[in-house]
């Protein structure tokens, strides 16, 4: 089973026509069902109002309305059909203050150009699998700007007591050996060496 991307519609807003075609081709190759295109922020917002796309991929630098102003419109305009829509901003900028500027406008993900197919795919996975909660504050509306970092847990482990039991320890060791043996067998069957990643075809 794979993503049913043919069920979604994407809007690509980019003023550089060859680049627009490339992004469109990539999405079509990923099997995205409908790819709507626009060449600037004004046209992009009109298309979004018309098609209410599931995702938006926009360039930063466009005239007359750039990707930042477009994002603000999508998030805050009363006519916006979905202010929560995931929005990926493409740009050549990678400086921290630029990333913050995009984040403060309400961008969901940031894609630095030049990028490859996997980079774009990773952003898609991010917005599908790990959507961000939204924040509405007096001067901001958009995806939560905080990125949570997993802290190091320093409390008691649930199985601290179990580990003192020699029978349980023996069982854990046996399970560990069994798992190692399975891993060795799978690697041998697939012709993988130790450092090679496992690619899961179906997570469902």
């Amino acid at each position: 089973m794979a993503y049913q991307l043919h069920r979604i519609s994407a809007l690509v807003v980019e003023d550089n026509l060859p680049m627009l075609e490339i992004v469109k081709s990539l999405l079509v190759t990923f099997d995205v069902g409908q790819v709507v295109t626009a060449t600037n922020g004004v046209d992009g917002f009109e298309k979004f109002c018309e098609y209410n796309n599931d995702i938006i991929i926009a360039d930063w630098m466009m005239r007359p309305v750039d990707g930042i102003a477009f994002t603000r419109k999508v998030r805050n305009d009363k006519d916006s059909p979905n202010p929560y829509v995931p929005l990926i901003l493409m740009t050549g900028f990678s400086e921290r203050r630029r990333v913050f500027e995009a984040r403060d406008a309400g961008v969901t993900e940031f894609l630095v150009k030049p990028f490859n197919a996997r980079d774009l795919y990773k952003r898609l996975v991010q917005i599908i699998e790990r959507p961000r909660q939204f924040v509405r504050a007096p001067e901001f509306f958009g995806p939560d700007r905080r990125r949570k970092k997993a802290g190091i847990y320093d409390g008691p482990w649930r199985r601290d007591e179990d580990l003192k039991d020699p029978d349980i320890m023996q069982h854990i060791r046996a399970e560990k050996l069994k798992a190692q043996e399975t891993l060795r067998r799978v690697r041998q069957e697939e012709g993988l060496s130790k450092g090679d990643p496992f690619i899961l075809q179906d997570e469902g």
Binding site: E21, F30, V135, Q201, E203, G204
Partner: protein, 192 residues
């Protein structure tokens, strides 16, 4: 959206030297995208096919690059006639915009060396405090190098010669910053 999905946060500071915490509403919109696409990702075959689409694109980047280079020169001309009344940031943006486009698009259309060199130019423009003659000289050196690469149709990273060009331009910027002030470093350095 149910009431359970909305949380409110508003509290007064514990001391007058603290700013009042702002009221914020946290919203968890339903994940309609996930509901539509399901699970399982995209296969490696599809990813390889998509990458091939990128690598096999035959778009001629040169007309586009020449347009950006021309705009960059126009930006430099504006910078040369900069007066006290002009907005310095705005003038820099006329150079920064085409430089950023060259950086962003070069690598998408097989001109990786253009991306590397234009990236250095963008970094330079993001950090300089003033557009003096020395800065303009450096920008023109970048322009001349980028133009030579585009006109020469040098795709890829340019090999050893490309690396030498990049280092020469980088050295010129380093010498510039040895003499001139730059904006606060923490604005730009991810690792700090």
């Amino acid at each position: 959206m149910t009431q359970d999905e909305i949380e409110f946060q508003d509290s007064r500071p514990t001391h007058y030297n603290q700013r009042r915490r702002r009221k914020a509403e946290f919203i968890r919109p339903p994940n309609t995208l996930k509901a539509k696409v399901g699970s399982g990702g995209v296969s490696e075959t599809i990813l390889a096919k998509a990458q091939a689409v990128l690598e096999n694109n035959t778009v001629d980047f040169r007309p586009l690059a020449e347009m950006y280079l021309e705009n960059l020169l126009k930006g430099v001309d504006k910078a040369r006639t900069l007066t006290q009344k002009d907005d310095r940031e705005n003038v820099i943006s006329h150079i920064l915009y085409p430089a950023m486009q060259l950086k962003a698009n070069g690598g998408m259309f097989h001109y990786n060396l253009v991306t590397k060199i234009a990236d250095k130019l963008v970094q330079f423009l993001e950090v300089i405090e003033e557009l003096d003659l020395a800065a303009i000289e450096i920008i023109l050196a970048y322009h001349a190098t980028l133009r030579a690469i585009i006109l020469g149709g040098i795709k890829g990273d340019g090999g050893t010669h490309g690396q030498e060009l990049l280092e020469a331009l980088d050295d010129a910027c380093t010498r510039y910053f040895d003499k001139k002030p730059r904006r606060q470093r923490h604005d730009y350095d991810f690792d700090q």
